[in-house]
Symmetry: C2
Subunit: 380 residues, 2 copies
């Protein structure tokens, strides 16, 4: 049996939503699932035990960051990423491609790979499919991602086509570079914001011998309806028997629409990043925008928990909105922790509620209930 | 029975060191003890459950900070400080005096109290013995401190005498302002760096109807031997049947010398502050200065825990020096948490080892063992 594989359990009757199980060397996890992001071998502000207690079974770590610091060889000497950061469940590492294009300076793309300058010390570095896969093998993640180019938005058709075809060649090279039989490798479809390129990319990546298929290059600034359309075209041509992973997506509305289009896995820094900005994620029934901005004076004497009936550490222990507001205003780290714990648990519950709805063939009701109360932001 | 009282269990045969029990409305705690500091109603970076698991039974919160933000009335509405911050054990609040003199601007001292500008928004505020005690009553701490002036160092004899005598009058006013029978009030001796003033202050404060006596105005920049001498003169004249609290002291050498001179209680931001600077506190057997500077390259491939045989969360879970170094270099909050947990647990164990030595009449051996391995810094 392959190290990593997807088991389809049930398809929602009315939509493309799927309930399944993702099998990995470090356990099996119910899908659809959301992966908290542990960029630098730590989910920001939290201990691995806290992340585990949230119900998260698989987390994402960033190859770009760990490649630069502390370096994959050091992590390997430490016994691999699981041991290094004390995480006993599964880890997915991205390929480094996205960060090379979003964080580093002076990048130069050739057929061979990407030359760039480190955002930490400005030193010149090089990543290629072979180096990315070797780095991920040294890190020892359960799932490694093929090296790709995340096409900037907007991009013209010709560039999107050239880049997507190169991503396909890099996908092939990534597969050929694999050395770790305990690691599953996922391919990444691109295609920019062009339906035919998206469809073609899904077919090409879907036909390769990957353990799963990701959809990359979305949620990069395009309008929401364009994103949903591109996702639809992609998942339509992805094989049913492999996990589908929509990269970098983590707001409740996007998660719902992703699941509705047959996506099984997501990751995003959103819940931990907004926690550090003093924001609590809540159901649209509690707040129509799905969020509480804790600095607001309306919470000064609000002695309720963030969300009624939430079972997270923060709400279960009755830390009040007034106390969290105080901590946020006083720049106290414990305030960020309380919000990160709440936000990540909120998303874990959200995913698990979606799964229940899929199994009950009532996913569309669940989705409509959400959107009936939800008032989207104008952006994206 | 008084809300707060001290029970002497044993005096070390060779030194002034005492083992006892401090009784409070929120439990009884073995002395000598060290109180972690929760300045703004949170021990920096940690949850109350983590602080409790360290073995800390009593923590300190700062009246000055809470008076300014969020305000004592808000905390009272929340159900008091214990409920506000979710801390089920005891809390000692300081009087605000020290911070008024160290943090605020434009202070003006009169017999009535101190006018000052908030370090947060520059607004004009006023603290007096009566306001400080009323604030602490609203916060609902187990132990409130009398309002005093912390004399700057250096100060001439005449100023030290004038200030100390005013502190005595303020002590009396603090006692008279008490309204909360569930709260014990501690007096604070001052006296600058003058033996006769220290002795006199200890006699005056010791004779008043306080639940305990603190020694203030030490560890403010004076040479180490001066501090020890002033402490000696103070504790000599303090009553045996009350707890003695040396304020703002928390390095192992000072704790040892304080206990040797009959001190029962300490507090200091040192363990949490140095954690945020990337420093681990360790025994002098592990490092002669008693500390590891985690950024140092010597820890790059050091896969040992911070300290062998340490039972803190960090060491027990085998988070390595290499991993902590990585987190500190990457500015990850979890690194600070791992260090804060370790440092505070280190001090809890240190206090409890001192107590065992006192009970076994071997405190001097314990102290000499420490100093045989310890290489003090030149400062203070």
């Amino acid at each position: 049996m392959a190290a990593v594989y997807y088991e389809l359990i049930h398809k929602d009757a009315a939509t493309g939503a799927r309930a399944g199980i993702l099998h990995t060397p470090h356990g099996k996890f119910l899908t659809p699932l959301f992966m908290p992001v542990g960029t630098q071998a730590t989910v920001k502000t939290l201990s691995p035990h806290e992340v585990q207690n949230l119900g998260a079974g698989i987390i994402l770590a960033n190859t770009y960051h760990l490649f630069l610091r502390p370096g994959a060889e050091l992590v390997k000497k430490a016994g691999g990423l699981h041991r290094f950061m004390n995480w006993t469940h599964a880890i997915l590492t991205d390929s480094g491609g996205f960060q090379v294009f979003s964080l580093s300076d002076l990048r130069k793309i050739t057929e061979d790979g990407v030359k760039f300058r480190s955002h930490i010390d400005g030193s010149e570095k090089f990543l290629s499919p072979e180096i990315s896969i070797a780095t991920q093998a040294a890190l020892g993640s359960d799932i490694a991602m093929a090296f790709d180019e995340c096409i900037p938005y907007p991009a013209d058709y010709d560039y999107a086509k050239i880049s997507t075809e190169r991503t396909h060649r890099w996908a092939e090279r990534s597969l050929n570079a694999a050395t770790n039989p305990k690691q599953g490798i996922f391919g990444i479809c691109q295609g920019g914001m062009y339906e035919d390129l998206r469809a073609e990319s899904a077919k090409v990546i879907g036909a390769m011998n990957f353990a799963g298929c990701a959809v990359g290059g979305l949620s990069v600034g395009e309008p929401r309806n364009v994103m949903y359309r591109m996702l639809e075209v992609s998942t339509k041509f992805l094989p049913e028997n492999k996990a589908r992973y929509l990269m970098g997506v983590g707001t409740p509305d996007h998660l719902l629409e992703g699941v509705a289009r047959g996506v099984d896995m997501f990751d995003c820094v959103f819940p931990t990043r907004v926690a550090r900005n003093g924001m609590a994620m809540v159901s649209p029934q509690t707040n129509s925008r799905g969020r509480l901005v804790m600095k607001n004076s309306e919470f000064t004497e609000d002695f309720a928990p963030l969300e009624p009936n939430c079972d997270c550490y923060t709400c279960r222990n009755k830390f009040t909105r007034a106390y969290i507001r105080h901590l946020v205003r006083a720049d106290e780290i414990f305030g960020l922790r309380l919000l990160a714990l709440h936000n990540l648990r909120y998303l874990q519950r959200f995913m698990s509620n979606m799964r229940e709805a899929i199994l009950a063939d009532s996913f569309n009701d669940f989705r409509e209930n959400f959107f009936a109360a939800y008032e989207a932001d104008n952006h994206a």
